[in-house]
Symmetry: C2
Subunit: 434 residues, 2 copies
C-alpha cells in the first residue's frame, strides 16, 4: 500500500465509549491500513484517575495521563476525540484543541446544544474539522447523510425516534398493557433508563438531538428553546387500546419541518399516533430511526441502534476516518462546520395536522355536547368518537379524532376544553402521522 | 462567501434522469453556493438528436451537442456525468473522460457489473474519482454509507430489497391475492415493469446491484456470476397464505454474507419469508431497503425510493458535490475506487438457514411419509407441517418448515424430493428470515 496516511489520536475520556473506541481502533487498524491506506493509532489517553481506568489495558506506545489538557494540546497528537460528555472540562478542552489547530471528534450533544455555535465558529476560523456524527442517534450515520447525500436536495422535513428510553417504554407498554410507572421501573432495572429519567421521558434529550439535526438539514442556527417539547409521562394504557382501534401506535417523534416558503421551521417533540403501516411503527425497544424528506428525492428512513458503546464508537471512528481521508481544503467548510443562517420559527398557525384528543372524565350527560360546542366555536371539525368498554364511570376514557387543524386553533380549543368541569385527567392531543 | 469552488459539468445523456439532473442543478445552485461555497454548472450536454431533446430548455451558457466524445474530453469541463446507460458508447466515453483526468459520476450499474474493475483501475491510475452512488438503490445513500460510515466497522452482511419491480409485484400479490401473471400485467401497465421483465423478475438486476454493494462492503472483487439467483415467477397465491400463517411475508432479498473466518462470501438473490415484525416486511411497492450488519455497530437499515428521475438525480448530484468538496488527495483512494482483494466464494455447506418447503401435489396416501423419509436420509429435521383448506385434491398445496439446514444438504434433499412422482409444481424452498 502506497503512502499510508498516519493519524495520531488523543482520546479524552476512557469510560464505556472511550474504551469501546480504543478497542475498535485496535481491532480495525489492520483493515484500515490495507483497504484505506490509513494508519490510525490512539497515542494518548486522558482521564481522571487514569491509573484505575487503565487497569487491564496493555497500552504499548500509549501515553496514559490524568492531565487532560496535555492531551488536547499534545504536539504528538493530530486529532482529539472528546468522549467526556457534559459541559466542563469538555468545552475548555475542545477549545484548546481547536485553537491548537487540531480537528476534534465528539459524541457530546449536550455541549453542542449549549455551545455549538461558538465551537463551530472557532473550528471555521482555524480551518479544522469538527466531527459530531456520534452525537445524534448513535451509530446511525445521519449527520453525514444530511451533510453529503442530502446536500443535493432542498429538504422539507427531518424527523424521527431519537430517544431509545422513551421508545423502549412506549413499545413495552404497548406489548404488555402495563402502566407507565411500572414499565419505567423495569427500564431502570434493565439500564435503559437513568435513575433520574427526566431528560429522556420529558423529551429534552430528543430536543437536543433534533436541534442538531435541524441545523444540519436546514443550515440554520436552531436554538433548543425553539423546540416545543412534551414527554411521555402522561400516557395511559387506554391510549394504546385507542391507538390500535385507529390502526396506529403511539411513538415519541421529534419533528423539524419547513413551513411555508420563507424557510420558517416548526420543531416539536411529542407523542404521535403513527400508522401501523409506517416504518416508524416497527422501530421497537431502544432503537432509533430518522426520516428525511426532500423536494426532489422523496422520503428516506435510516434506522439502527441509537446508543451503546459499540455503535457510538463506530460513529466516532467514521468521523476520524473521514477527517483522515479528506483533510481540510482551504475555502471549503470542513466536516460539520457550516456558517449557519439565522433561525425563523414558524407560526403555530402554519402547522396543520389531524389529531386525536383523549379525555378521561367522570361520566355525566352532555359531555360530548360540551366538547363539540367548544370545537365548533374554534372551527374544528370532529372526525369520529371512539369509546371502549367503560366500566369505571368515575374515570371514563374516550377519544375524539379531529380533521386537520392548525396549531393555534388547537391550542385555543385545548385551553377551553381543559377548563370544563368533568375531567379526571387533563385532555391530551396526539398528532396523527402516517 | 469566500473563494467559491466552481465546477463545470459535462453531461452525457439527456433523457429522464439527465433532464431531472439538469433541473436539480439549476434549482439547487443558489443554495449550494450559499451553504457549501460550491458553484456548480452544467456547461455542456451531449445526446444523440440533441435538437429534439433540447426543445423547451433555455440552456443559456450551455453547449448542446450530439458529439458525445467532445463533451467527455472538453477542456472546459471539470467533471463528466454519464447517464446514457448500457455498455457502449458509455464505456468508451467514461474511458475517454477518465483518461483526460476528469472525474466521472454515473448511474450505470450494467456497465459497472461488466467493466467496473477496468474503469476503477483507470480512475486509480489517473488519480480521479468515480461516483457510483446512483447505481444502486436510486436515492438511498448506501454506497457512501458503506464507504464512509461503515468503513469504521468490519461488516458481516449487506442485504436488501433492491428491485422495485419484484417488490411491487410481491406486495401487490399479498394485498390482493391475485396471481403472478395478473399482477405482472398490472405492473407493466403502470410502468413499474418493462415489456420484457426478465431482468427484474428473474433477479438479475438485484444481482448486479448486490455485486456492487458487496464490493463496497467487503472490499473484494465480486463477480456477478457468484450470485445464486432465483426469481419470483414461480410464486403462487397460496405462498402468501402460508407465509401469513407463519407470521411472515414473501420478499425478494439480495443477501451477501461473510461466512466463516476466511472472509468467504455467500451471495444470493431469492424469495425469503421474512418476519412480519421486521422492517423489511414494511418495504412496500417500488421502495428499496438495504440492511448493513457490522461486528461492532450492529444492524442498520436504510430505505427509500430505489428509482425514478428525482431520487436518481439527487444521488448523482450528491457524488458531484462530494467530488467538488473533497477533491483528490495523493495517496488516498478517491471516491469509489478501491483496489479490491480477490474474491472467495463460500461453500454452500457454510450457509445455514431455517427453510419452508412448499409442495403442490396430487393427493394420495403416503406423501408426507415419502417426504419425511428423504429429509431424514439427509439428516434434516422437520419443524412443522401446514396445510390450509385443500379443496382441489388434484393440486393440493402444503408447507413443511425445516429446522436450520446447511445449503448443500438442502440442495441434495431438494433434488431427491423433486424426483418424487406426485408433484403438480416443482417443490420450492423459501429461507425464513427475521
Amino acid at each position: 500500500m502506497t503512502n499510508p496516511n498516519r493519524l495520531r489520536i488523543g482520546l479524552l475520556g476512557f469510560g464505556t465509549v472511550g474504551q469501546a473506541f480504543t478497542r475498535l481502533v485496535l481491532k480495525e487498524r489492520g483493515r484500515l491500513l490495507r483497504d484505506h491506506a490509513l494508519d490510525l493509532e490512539v497515542v494518548a489517553i486522558g482521564n481522571r484517575r487514569i491509573d484505575e481506568k487503565r487497569a487491564g489495558w496493555a497500552g504499548e506506545g500509549v501515553r496514559f495521563t490524568d492531565d487532560l489538557a496535555s492531551v488536547a494540546t499534545d504536539p504528538g497528537v493530530d486529532l482529539v476525540v472528546e468522549l467526556l460528555g457534559g459541559l466542563e472540562p469538555a468545552r475548555s478542552l475542545q477549545t484548546a484543541a481547536l485553537s491548537a489547530g487540531k480537528p476534534v471528534v465528539t459524541a457530546n450533544k449536550m455541549l453542542f446544544a449549549h455551545h455549538g455555535e461558538e465551537l463551530a465558529a472557532l473550528a471555521r476560523e482555524k480551518g479544522v474539522s469538527l466531527g459530531l456524527e456520534a452525537a445524534v442517534a448513535g451509530g446511525i450515520p445521519i449527520l453525514r447523510a444530511l451533510r453529503e447525500s442530502f446536500a443535493a436536495d432542498t429538504l422539507t422535513s427531518v424527523s424521527g425516534i431519537l430517544n431509545g428510553t422513551s421508545n423502549f417504554i412506549l413499545t413495552t407498554m404497548e406489548a404488555t398493557g402495563r402502566s407507565y410507572a411500572d414499565v419505567l421501573a423495569e427500564a431502570q432495572r434493565l439500564g435503559y433508563a437513568e435513575a433520574d429519567p427526566a431528560s429522556d421521558v420529558e423529551g429534552n434529550d430528543a430536543a437536543y438531538k433534533l436541534a442538531l439535526l435541524a441545523r444540519m438539514a436546514f443550515g440554520t442556527s436552531v436554538p433548543v428553546s425553539a423546540v416545543r417539547c412534551s414527554g411521555i409521562t402522561h400516557l395511559l394504557p387506554c391510549d394504546f387500546e385507542y391507538a390500535r382501534m385507529l390502526e396506529r401506535t403511539p411513538r415519541q417523534l421529534a419533528v423539524a419541518r419547513r413551513v411555508g416558503v420563507d424557510g420558517a421551521l416548526a420543531l416539536s417533540v411529542s407523542t404521535h399516533l403513527v400508522s401501523q403501516r409506517s416504518l416508524l411503527a416497527k422501530i421497537e425497544g431502544p432503537f432509533n430511526a430518522v426520516a428525511v424528506e426532500g423536494e426532489t428525492g422523496g422520503t428516506f428512513v435510516l434506522s439502527g441502534r441509537g446508543a451503546g458503546g459499540g455503535p457510538t464508537a463506530t460513529a466516532v471512528l467514521s468521523d476520524v476516518i473521514e477527517i483522515a481521508r479528506s483533510g481540510a481544503r482551504p475555502g471549503v467548510p470542513p466536516l460539520g462546520v457550516h456558517a449557519f443562517a439565522p433561525f425563523t420559527a414558524a407560526s403555530p398557525a402554519a402547522s396543520v395536522s389531524a389529531v386525536a384528543l383523549r379525555f378521561v372524565v367522570k361520566d355525566a350527560p352532555g359531555i360530548i355536547a360540551s366538547i363539540s360546542r367548544i370545537l365548533a366555536e374554534n372551527e374544528i371539525n370532529i372526525d369520529a368518537v371512539f369509546q371502549t368498554r367503560g366500566e369505571d364511570k368515575a374515570a371514563l376514557p374516550f377519544v375524539v379524532t379531529l380533521e386537520p387543524v392548525a396549531g393555534d386553533g388547537l391550542a385555543r380549543a385545548l385551553e377551553a376544553l381543559a377548563a370544563l368541569p368533568f375531567h379526571q385527567k387533563p385532555p391530551v392531543a396526539f398528532p396523527l402521522t402516517d
